[in-house]
């Protein structure tokens, strides 16, 4: 198993390429950008992208999807049935499926967005914007912040401490560190989240 991270300047988001050196099959998590650099990297390693996992459908995490699908015939996995008009295989909380030679498990962790998913592949947790290093994902209300923290608690925190957290933004982490130090798990964090105020509504 080989893992590569790509940092996209558009939206400052992380994409991940997970490749199997024996089968040469690969999957991409959140193709926020799909440019010549990413393509060259895939081709240089002799991979063929068979699957795309979307953690949620915010544009800076999926903008490269159309380009990717022009080059590779890949199945798209997401919590929603269509993204950019592209049909997706819908995944739900607790679903287990095999993709590109890897076994994946999906966790529904809404809060940042209603369709937020976290994918577990072996010791890797692709957390999208549900969980970042040191902070939970951004939410638009105290209700969503509470929901997010509750779902993180019930869905992910029972997993082993040495799980690797690979978020949609920022540096990687491990689950053990997040359990101890993430600001979202501090008492009263959700109450501090201010609802956005729009002057012109």
């Amino acid at each position: 198993m080989k893992l590569y991270q790509h940092y996209s300047i558009y939206g400052f988001a992380n994409s991940y390429l997970l490749g199997d050196d024996e089968t040469k099959q690969a999957l991409i998590v959140d193709p926020g950008e799909f440019n010549a650099g990413v393509l060259n990297h895939i081709e240089r390693n002799g991979y063929y992208v068979r699957a795309v996992l979307l953690t949620h459908n915010h544009v800076h995490h999926i903008r490269g999807l159309k380009t990717l699908l022009r080059i590779y015939e890949a199945e798209v996995f997401a919590a929603t049935s269509r993204v950019f008009g592209i049909s997706c295989r819908v995944v739900k909380d607790g679903d287990r499926f095999a993709i590109s030679g890897f076994s994946a498990e999906a966790y529904s962790i809404p809060g940042h967005s209603s369709d937020s998913m976290v994918y577990r592949i072996d010791k890797l947790l692709f957390t999208g914007d549900a969980l970042h290093a040191g902070v939970p994902g951004r939410t638009l209300s105290p209700f969503n912040a509470r929901l997010l923290v509750e779902r993180l608690n019930s869905g992910l925190l029972s997993l082993e401490d040495d799980m690797v957290v690979l978020p949609g933004h920022g540096p990687p982490s491990t689950l053990g560190v997040e359990k101890r130090f993430n600001l979202g798990f501090e008492a009263g964090f959700a109450a501090k989240v201010m609802a956005p105020y729009d002057f012109f509504v």
């Binding site: 198993m1 040191g134 902070v135 920022g170 540096p171 990687p172 560190v177």
Partner: protein, 197 residues
């Protein structure tokens, strides 16, 4: 990414040590010494786990590490000067008098680590996590820390002089005698009210 081959010992579940078959606890007696020789002997290391090992006085200057784990390791007087790190994990490791100056470390995690008298001067420390780390008598001066995170960490007697702090989360739980002289703190995140850029 380091291999997720599990220890052969039944019910252990930990990651196998240094490309072997068992974790550091169940590895053969000389495994740590052999790992030290492996580290010093090869210019490049990929996908290896050195979790839980204790290394002292190693000279790893200019080595390249890709997808390696040093989680829970104890490193004393180890030289990583000019080293390159990508996707490496040092979570809960202990560093005493180590040198990371002039390193290029991107997308690495030092979460929960304890760092005493460690130099990260003149380094590229992009997208690195120091969440929950205890950082004492350390210097990050003249380094590029773009998009790194220092959340709920403890900073004591440490310097961030003339650093690039753009998009850096600097929300330590303790901060004593820390200098940010000539650094662009205005471009960093310093409080929970402005948590999301």
């Amino acid at each position: 990414m380091y291999s997720f081959v599990r220890c052969v010992e039944p019910k252990c579940g930990k990651i196998a040590f240094a490309g072997g078959k068992a974790c550091i606890v169940h590895a053969p007696h000389r495994a740590e010494a052999e790992a030290a020789a492996l580290l010093e002997g090869s210019p490049e290391h990929r996908d290896l786990s050195f979790a839980g090992a204790a290394f002292e006085g190693l000279d790893l200057r200019g080595k390249k590490f890709y997808g390696c784990s040093f989680m829970g390791a104890r490193l004393k007087s180890v030289l990583f000067t000019n080293a390159v790190f990508r996707l490496c994990f040092f979570d809960d490791a202990t560093f005493d008098s180590c040198d990371f100056s002039h390193v290029d470390a991107q997308f690495c995690s030092f979460g929960g680590a304890s760092l005493l008298n460690v130099s990260f001067e003149n380094s590229e420390l992009l997208h690195d996590s120091f969440v929950g780390a205890s950082i004492s008598e350390c210097t990050f001066s003249n380094s590029n820390l773009y998009d790194s995170r220092f959340i709920r960490c403890e900073l004591r007697n440490s310097d961030f002089v003339d650093c690039n702090l753009k998009r850096v989360y600097l929300i330590p739980s303790k901060e004593e005698k820390v200098s940010y002289k000539y650094s662009n703190t205005m471009e960093s995140v310093r409080d929970e009210e402005h948590l999301y850029l």
